[in-house]
Symmetry: D2
Subunit: 226 residues, 4 copies
């Protein structure tokens, strides 16, 4: 029997990107003067600022980025609700996944207090977290063993995987433009977002700083909305 | 301890719709004569036929339908890859789900033969299917018990649910226009689609016959492509 | 020679719709309790209010509406930049359009003052407006005459129409969901939107009140943003 | 008075791109093995071929390209019906455009024969083409003069431009992924597409060969559909 692995680590890798801060100002210049004009360093900031504060967001659509995410299924499900992106995910129909599962970091809130629409969350004790890890390990291991036994019996992967918990890791490519990414971050780094999706979103944010730093700074200072 | 329920039943309910076969011809007439003109019964068929066989599909976008689906998470994940639709799904962050899980019908293929891209599937014996049901029941029940114990320990639903398998049922609203629905059916009723998503897709197809029967018949006879 | 007609009248007609205020709460209830539950009159308002003020906008996507618009090409061009809608427009390749052209109402601002990004507009005098109407009538009539002569010479409509000004009227179907419509109105009823598109947007807003009055009121009182 | 310029030249410039043939196979490998794996030269062709002939088109969404187009408004209107792309176009509200207008090449078909849905087109004589150029020059010049007089009278650009014909040139950025571009080309290089949009589409096709030549060749040999 294979032993399952539990980890709180969520991974984001920048795979490729198109354009940068200048691409946004070039696209904006096309709207204003009908040609691709260079913008001086000083002007650029003012122009980006004008675009963002006036909601002229289409110029941000000409910068694109592909990320590779390795996260559990329950996080993937929330992420893939964002319909503006392109996704390519490992299929459990075609491949056996490794037995890697998610368990929370020790500083993750454990207790949900209040009513729908007004929840607050609180961290638990270390003992409580140990209970969580041990229950998860047991549930994951039992599910994995059932999955493996089914495969050994010649059952198709697409049937056997029904046993696998949403805590199992999956991996996917995700491509979108800077406007979409900013909209994603606005929602998914907000305080009421799921802890794990916030972790992922903050990592994505860091990667986007490599692509278009002036845009990202401005978006951050302008209130991180969209 | 609550006992889990296993079922192969997938449910599709038509909730609401806008328009019908005539809406398509009205929209097409706007393109051709610039006004909403009535079409005689006889003409209608010819016009619909012309639109479909020439790939003029935009008139089919003015008919919309909302379905309620009750299906397992692994089916939901495939369905929600279709980005043209609107979804509202029960959230396991906000509500405890009932312990209802999916297990296959006895005539579902169990064996996957061949290499990626060239798989064929074969049904198994009744004994093999009993192994599947018993392994699933065991994995589901173990996961559910861990889930309940975590909740009893005051652990937030959004953490405890990590244990739950992708075979658990969820429910969601799904709204889209007739062109999107036809595109969905083309892919998801095809022979190489997942057995369970085909079941769902055929039910959706039946519901769409209630909304726009002439369009659906035509689409079927024209090869079910898009 | 046919004489051109000039008019400031822009037309919006509600053709069809799906759902109402209750459809939104039904969809929201699916997210919260996993079932379509009825909502009491009193609760409904609170729930809609909660959804809108917390940016939970997906339930508004299960209400759809089709409008028929009769507006000039320069307005159509701005409207059709909204990519979430479905359009079916009369094609000048297939049909000869009537010689109906747009000229502004007498209270439309005529003067654009200031620099890009900081424009203000001011109304002109009646005399200035008469100049506008007379220049437009002349330009439209000349273009129309050239168009007709080309058609009489056997030139294809798709070539002859190149002469026609963007002030000529066109007609199209436009279908979208309530969330899209609200997003459209947020941008297009704003003070910096083009005068003519604001006129159209306000008419669309009126029609949407017939479909989902409680949602529209709430959106209006909540600041008309999205 | 400024003299208008007439030209049949339509311009397409590749501004930027992300990814190449390998990006498609990398994304496909993520679906199959859950990791970004290198593909040998020989394998690559087979994999691309498999993806395209089986309609697995999502891997083509991780390659993106931005084009700059300079084309008349009547072409722009058809192009911008493609909702999957991002556009930034020069606005006639903010800038005075140069007096550059479209007139057809001498080998463009002039005569439209038959009924809607069954049109055929035939070239005209050189004399007929001269009539077209002369009528267009006259209509364009008259419209332009009215436009300039209105501007000189202090009328806002957004009002004065109503006189301008759809034959006037505009310029815009257009960004999309390879799957979208192929879908665009399938429709817009087809024999029943408008002559001018076919010209533009063939130029776009040439530019895309610079980005992902193996994908483009394959798409061409596979029948140019999608």
């Amino acid at each position: 029997m294979t032993q399952v692995e539990l980890t709180p680590d969520l991974t984001v890798t920048l795979i490729d990107s198109m354009g940068n801060d200048d691409s946004v100002t070039h696209a904006a210049r096309v709207s204003i003067v009908g040609a691709r004009a260079e913008t001086e360093e000083g002007e650029r900031k003012g122009l980006l600022n004008f675009l963002m504060s006036n909601g002229h967001l289409s110029p941000f659509e000409h910068v694109t980025a592909t990320m590779m995410l390795e996260v559990p299924i329950f996080v993937t499900r929330e992420i893939q609700r964002h319909r503006a992106f392109s996704y390519n995910e490992i299929s459990a129909r075609y491949a056996k996944r490794p037995p890697k599962f998610y368990a929370p970091q020790f500083d993750r809130e454990l207790h949900q207090i209040g009513k729908p629409g007004k929840y607050t969350f609180e961290v638990g004790t270390d003992d409580e977290m140990l209970v969580v890890w041990s229950e998860m390990r047991f549930a994951y291991q039992t599910a994995w063993d059932a999955y493996e036994r089914l495969l050994e019996n010649g059952v198709a992967r697409e049937v056997a995987r029904n046993c696998l918990p949403v805590g199992i890791f999956t991996a996917f490519y995700m491509t979108g433009n800077l406007r979409n990414w900013m909209g994603f971050l606005s929602l998914r780094t907000a305080p009421d977002a799921l802890f794990e999706i916030r972790e992922v979103a903050f990592r994505i944010e860091q990667e986007l700083y490599k692509v278009a730093p002036a845009c990202m700074e401005l978006w951050d200072r302008a209130g991180r909305g969209l």
